[in-house]
């Protein structure tokens, strides 16, 4: 049973003016029940190695995406690793012209491929606005 004092990955209840997405609203004990995984790789399975390297890569990728698309990220990026291929699925709000988004996507892909020495595929999708699940 969980203590009410745990603060891990939870958005604290406030005045009711803070819009919160489905991902942010659910606490980590809901993973595999109401939530899915944001980063899919085999590092954490029994008898598999490389969990720390994948975690480091994930942290870098999320910061990189936060920087290349300033203020446009609608939700956390989903990272999928399929046998050396890195698929990054990003949801963006419509703040920039499509031509600029295409350029930023291509730039991110080539830079990350050269940095990580593996093919990186960026799948961008624009959403009209950030969808709030709750107001906390």
């Amino acid at each position: 049973p969980l203590s009410p004092q745990t603060r891990a990955a939870r958005v604290r209840v406030g005045k009711g003016d803070k819009p919160v997405t489905y991902e942010q609203a659910h606490a980590p004990h809901y993973i595999a029940h109401r939530k899915g995984w944001l980063s899919l790789h085999t590092g954490n399975l029994c008898g598999e190695a490389g969990a720390a390297e994948r975690a480091l890569e994930d942290a870098f990728l999320r910061r990189f995406l936060h920087g290349t698309f300033p203020g446009l990220l609608a939700d956390a990026a989903v990272l999928k690793r399929r046998a050396n291929l890195l698929v990054v699925c990003v949801l963006l709000a419509r703040g920039l012209a499509p031509a600029k988004l295409h350029f930023l996507g291509g730039y991110a892909e080539t830079l990350l491929s050269h940095f990580y020495k593996c093919p990186v595929r960026l799948e961008l999708q624009t959403v009209p606005a950030k969808v709030p699940y709750k107001y906390l």
Partner: protein, 163 residues
């Protein structure tokens, strides 16, 4: 004119069959596998269930006989770590990592069938899922042990031991 039209429309193949550059034909005998065991590991049971359906369907389409599909019990790796960066030994955090397994056993394959099946099934492995493959080869018994030793040795004359 009618004859020419008929010939022009039909596919007149030459005597040689079309040679597909991707298919290689060799005369050496293929290695035979008695059993091909695929152990699939993942964090999400639903993903493993859908992958099991896909793998069994692929095996059926290729004509490979499935021996059995069983699900070994899951393994949970639990960690108890200190909650705080400095002191507070009494307050800890617990994490667990669940690994679900699914074992698919196929019987009596040739090496080329196994290669094709494994390539197809591995290219479509979902992300976050790992696979281990074990192959059991069938080999002919080597010539020097085909007959038992006691049949081939010359008969030794029994000498009486005189005390």
């Amino acid at each position: 004119n009618l004859m020419r039209v008929q010939l022009a429309g039909s596919h007149v193949d030459t005597q040689e069959p079309k040679a597909n550059p991707l298919v290689s034909v060799s005369d050496e005998p293929e290695t035979l596998y008695k059993r091909l065991s695929l152990l699939v590991k993942g964090h999400d049971k639903a993903v493993l269930d859908s992958y099991e359906y896909f793998a069994v369907l692929a095996a059926k389409e290729l004509g490979i006989s499935v021996e059995k599909v069983h699900k070994p019990p899951k393994k949970i790796e639990r960690l108890t770590l200190l909650k705080s960066v400095h002191i507070y030994k009494k307050h800890r955090v617990q994490y667990e990592m669940r690994t679900h397994y699914m074992c698919l056993e196929l019987k009596y394959l040739t090496s080329s069938t196994a290669a094709v099946y494994l390539e197809y099934v591995q290219r479509n492995l979902p992300e976050g899922v790992a696979m281990e493959v074990k192959k059991t080869k069938i080999e002919k018994i080597p010539e020097h042990i085909q007959k038992p030793v006691w049949d081939t040795l010359p008969q030794v004359e029994e000498t009486e031991v005189k005390s």
